[in-house]
Symmetry: C2
Subunit: 727 residues, 2 copies
């Protein structure tokens, strides 16, 4: 039915009708399922003609499963965008040729690759040349997967209406391991998931392979994500039983063609829980033997299995510490088991223990810094961007730059655990860039986090970046179409952290929402300011961890008296009648000592601390004068809360003006999301201002509407069924 | 973009392409979302022309929200099926007129309604007549909702390619309350749900109204379902708090236009749990006052609110028994609170208590029979079809026919809790019909269950049928496209229980899968035999409740030693070296005494007990001779298990031959489902035969392949993450 050979009016009517009959409902429209691979028709006649000329005859050499994927994608994309039957031609006739280096005629290979060094199997080249007077484009690389990446790059150029004439694009990923972390439980609950349940239907695997699994892999490959950790870091040991490994294998077989490896989160005590051993002590031979046997078992079925992700001795998870061993001993045991098969260990540095009498933000550094150089070469230590836990804004983790002999993997959170869940429209590109471009000064000026993570600062052999997925079973994948941009931005930056968050936003907008220039500009502006807006109405001036307890939904600055002090809000903001903020300077817990100079001294002094981190590092009096504005701390705090909430109103207004250029169904759905966003930004503002006012005992600056309700109204709000609960 | 005014080749290409770009993936195809409202293009030229002539000009009188729904549905359906722009004409020009009785010209009203008695607001008439030499069709009824029902009937005629010439169809629902029961928790987990999570996104309500809510209502209205209980009978008391009631209201406002009322399951102890009272004793004035106030609060926001569904004093739920009161006292208190607003109480008779020294199948009757006549007029007692719990086959509950003064509402299960979950292809139409057509003999021969339920046997004022929903967030709604037929069949039978399950299967197949006659026949045959097949490989000859514990997934005839004896399997099959079966005859627990004569005597004697209920009512020796086959009981049991499993293989084979006539994506997905079904039918067979053989100690009949594994292999299989767990 989708064969496009028909002509004439009758056939036209048939197709027209089958289009309608495919509509999902009366109000048929864009439901967001297609993500940025929407491939909408190019309505501009000349543009279409120009692309058509170059792309109407193409050829994919080879017949690997990846080649088939490329062929399928080109057929689909060109048919959709260009409106004609895409032709898979003979190689000689094709104006677009996709072939790996080995498949190329020698002369073409020599010409095309002249001066380029293909360092990795993923590097790709898009090369324009002339043959017999015909302009042609070649996409090549060492492997078929590299040509798949190149293919998506070319498609992106067309989707963003860029020229494809005389291209000479050579691209090499700056980071080698680019993975999503799914915090998905085996019962399909997603911890910190706000887009429905897990897309993995474990119960029906391995037999039932949804088309969605393929579409997931397509989306990831299109942005260069080359791996996925299928299950929650709070891991169920059952994942390593044969019953589940055959399900994992089925997914791995889908993802392989798209260049994606499968990884698993494992529970450190698995030898005891499912192996029948009496210990999981990493120094015991039977424990190592168990992991070796388990690895062998896995690789026999999944030869390209990626490796393990481990959360150990953190928030109740078992680990080597249970047996008096270090994180390095634990990680190395697993690394030894995986090494013969080429697997890696991603060992999380997110550790903090109640017993330790040390401030939480300092513990990961204290624990891991002494272990520098003690890890086997196939271990990556995975570090969250900040020292606490995925707050709207955090300073960088002091571990970045602190371990010259240990490769550190970045862990970003894409899902919005502390960022309002999926109804807050926050584009995280600027946050990721802020972190990556921060200077650690580890080897003097210019020692950015990005250079630590990509391995260039300390010449590491492997490098990695993980994003905690915001993907779920919701039809639009992320619970909110705008938040697809965060999945997209994560992947693009993991491949190339030098891209600007703005250009990524622009690409994504054109590919996903609209081609109208004016509308694209509006949307990009809206996206670019959205994260700062969120910081303002949630946690301005360095405030952090003041969300409601457990689920982290909504404001909860009043939270106290939990099982651990460092799970409460009052511990972090320390508001009292004198002032507010956490003294992490030398006069306090001296967390600044964990940073390199001159960052250390700069953060030690409130007058040189960037205002956005003021209350992270200092407890300051309510009348402290804010340099940039001249306002008192109290007035500035209130100002930012009100500023943030009114910026969300402005965002919603901007969105409402986009109606002419956005698909009607998508527009209507997103408008409802903006309604929630506006309400909740005001809720955050009012709850926090009311609460902090109870300490500051100062009036609101003139002209501001006071909170709608008394403080206890906000304190009494309860959300026992908020989604994404932790275990 | 969906406006169909375009002509010419260029426009054709545009639409053709936008069709493709709407495809959900490379393998675009039917993902099952559209259910039976698929409205595929009528490819047969003459058929299309004939329908077009009659339907191309239509008019919907009035402008209520229901009228708008009708207009939208006609536009969408006719555009899709007929391939031309549907025209909403002036009344005079229209060959199809949709108008309620009050909107009709008097002469037409008189002619059309001559001899018809519109008993309910839902009765509709489809009436063919001639005017000025033009053949016309009128759809009318007392209300707009009635005309909506009539509209769906007309559309069904077109979808099933029936004549719409000279129609004179008058239809009145046989049952007044036709509702789905969603066992959906407020955290979106669906108890006994096998199609993803709840479609109600409570967290984002009331602001976010998905198009899916509308499509849900469309589907229900199209089969005559006029209400829905939104939440689990194991009810969370929070549903009655203002926070949730505003969400309920938002859904009610969507459903209202489609003729659907919203109902809620309520927890009997709500006055204590959320009302701050110290008791929920139904005889206390403050308790009644609380419920009255709560009802007032609800009706102020939802004027057409349907009422409450209550599971009380059953499986740990609170109830009037906690205060020494009867079910009637509990139900009547709620009924009194709802009565001023027109609401009803649906009070479940599914009660059994550990303390009671009475066999489980007998308890509901013992509890409720003495209460007959004690309920207020707006109470319906909701009775499961059988006396245990939604087994693949059960005899009817003896309550049907036992309460001449109390209307009994039928509770069917659509979701397949005990029927293999959503990967077993079981069409339940024949099961529903088997129950409804069973004779209770309550007032002599012909006193069928259907007549009890529709109120005609005892002249009840209200009547009801509930179906426990199989709907979830899966794209195809029911986790398996074929199982949409059960939602469909439930609705059709609730409206008219005299329809045959075969004609329902045929309608559904044509509307959902294919128009090819040969293919339709194959599918209908496959559907019609599927339930008997399932009984054979799961619970032949009256066996029951031998599923694995808790989740009820897979075989577990060996289950014993649970918290309650009547939760185990061994309690129900009582296999030993002598024989097998539960003696419910007068020599045993004498459950047969609860039925009317002559059923009672027939069931008391194995020689007159229908073979399908043999082991339900009798414990028989392994060598007992089965009348129909002459086989020994052991051989017959084994024969049926093998028969069932081989029938599933045959079903899968039949399905595989349908490829030419089924959408490719849908075909591929369903083929995978059949693979699971085949495997699991063999698993059931092998596990049960192995287990029962350990008692019977007899060989398999000649020629049968022995089970693939020893018994302990099956006994050791564990499924802690099986979906749909109970609370």
């Amino acid at each position: 039915m989708n064969k496009l050979k028909v002509t004439g009016v009758l056939a036209c009517i048939v197709l027209l009708v089958s289009h309608l009959s495919h509509a999902s409902s009366i109000l048929s429209g864009d439901d967001g399922y297609r993500l940025w691979l929407k491939y909408d028709y190019i309505s501009h006649l000349e543009q279409r003609a120009s692309y058509s000329q170059q792309l109407s005859h193409w050829h994919v050499a080879g017949n690997s499963s990846t080649d088939k994927v490329i062929r399928q994608e080109l057929t689909y994309a060109f048919s959709s965008m260009l409106g004609n039957q895409a032709v898979d031609s003979q190689q000689g006739d094709a104006s677009l040729l996709v072939a790996n280096l080995a498949e190329l005629p020698e002369a073409l290979r020599n010409n095309a690759t002249d001066g380029k060094e293909f360092k990795t199997d993923e590097d790709y080249l898009i090369y324009g040349f002339s043959e017999n007077g015909q302009k042609k484009v070649l996409i090549t690389g060492k492997t078929d997967v590299a040509t798949l990446y190149g293919t998506y790059h070319l498609l992106r150029l067309v989707q963003t209406r860029q020229s494809i004439v005389s291209l000479n694009i050579f691209s090499s990923p700056k980071i080698s391991v680019r993975v999503l972390n799914h915090w998905d439980n085996l019962d399909r609950h997603v911890e910190r998931g706000y887009a429905g349940q897990s897309i993995w239907d474990w119960h029906k695997l391995p037999e039932l392979i949804y088309q969605r699994y393929h579409d997931y892999a397509r989306a990831n490959a299109s942005v260069g994500i080359n791996g996925t950790v299928l299950n929650n870091v709070n891991a169920d040991p059952l994942i390593l039983t044969p019953q589940y490994l055959e399900k994992v294998k089925a997914l791995a077989e889908v993802f392989r063609s798209y260049g994606m490896k499968v990884y698993l989160s494992v529970k450190f005590s698995s030898p005891q829980l499912i192996g029948g051993l009496e210990t999981s002590d990493p120094t015991k031979p039977e424990v190592l033997a168990w992991w070796k046997q388990k690895s062998k078992e896995i690789y026999a079925e999944i030869p390209d299995f990626g490796g393990f992700l481990v959360k150990a001795n953190s928030e109740g998870q078992p680990g080597p510490g249970d047996f008096g061993r270090t994180h390095a001993q634990g990680a190395n045991m697993l690394a030894e088991a995986l090494a013969p098969h080429g697997g890696i260990v991603m060992w999380r540095a997110f550790v903090y223990a109640n017993e330790k009498n040390e401030e939480r933000s300092k513990q990961a550094y204290s624990e891991f810094k002494p272990l520098d150089g003690k890890f086997l070469p196939n271990v990556l230590v995975q570090v969250k961007n900040g020292p606490i836990d995925f707050q709207p804004r955090e300073p960088i983790s002091p571990l970045f730059g602190a371990t010259p002999n240990t490769p550190l993997m970045m862990e970003f959170q894409i899902t919005q655990e502390y960022l309002g869940f999926s109804t807050h429209n926050v584009y995280l590109g600027p946050m990721y860039k802020e972190v990556l471009s921060t200077d650690t000064y580890a080897k003097g000026k210019g020692s950015t986090v990005a250079k630590v993570v990509d391995g260039s600062l300390f010449q590491n052999n492997i490098s990695g970046m993980a994003g905690v997925s915001n993907i779920g079973s919701d039809r639009n994948w992320t619970g909110n179409v705008l938040l697809q941009s965060n999945w997209y931005a994560f992947g693009r930056l993991a491949w190339d952290h030098e891209l600007s968050s703005e250009e990524i936003a622009q690409e994504w907008t054109q590919m996903t929402l609209t081609q109208n220039t004016q509308a694209v500009d509006k949307i990009v502006n809206l996206l670019m300011s959205s994260r700062e807006t969120t910081v303002n109405y949630m946690t301005p001036l360095g405030l952090h961890h003041i969300m409601d307890e457990g689920h982290h939904y909504g404001p909860g600055p009043w939270i106290k008296d939990l099982g651990r002090e460092d799970w409460t809000s009052v511990y972090y903001h320390k508001a009292d009648e004198q002032g507010i903020g956490f003294d992490r300077s030398p006069s306090g817990v001296n967390a600044v000592a964990q940073y390199h100079e001159p960052l250390r001294s700069r953060l030690a002094d409130p007058s040189t601390t960037p205002e956005e981190f003021l209350l992270w590092f200092h407890h300051l009096p309510w009348d402290y004068s804010i340099k940039s504005s001249g306002r008192s701390l109290w007035n500035e705090l209130v100002h930012r809360y009100y500023q943030g909430a009114s910026e969300v109103e402005e965002m919603a207004k901007q969105w409402s003006e986009l109606q002419p250029w956005i698909d009607p169904l998508l527009f209507a759905q997103q408008t409802m999301v903006f309604n929630i966003h506006q309400q909740e930004a005001k809720w955050w503002r009012d709850a926090c201002v009311s609460y902090f006012q109870s300490f500051a005992k100062r009036p609101l600056p003139d002209g501001l509407t006071p909170p709608a309700h008394p403080l206890d109204y906000y304190q009494n709000m309860k959300f026992p069924n908020a989604p994404g609960r932790g275990d």
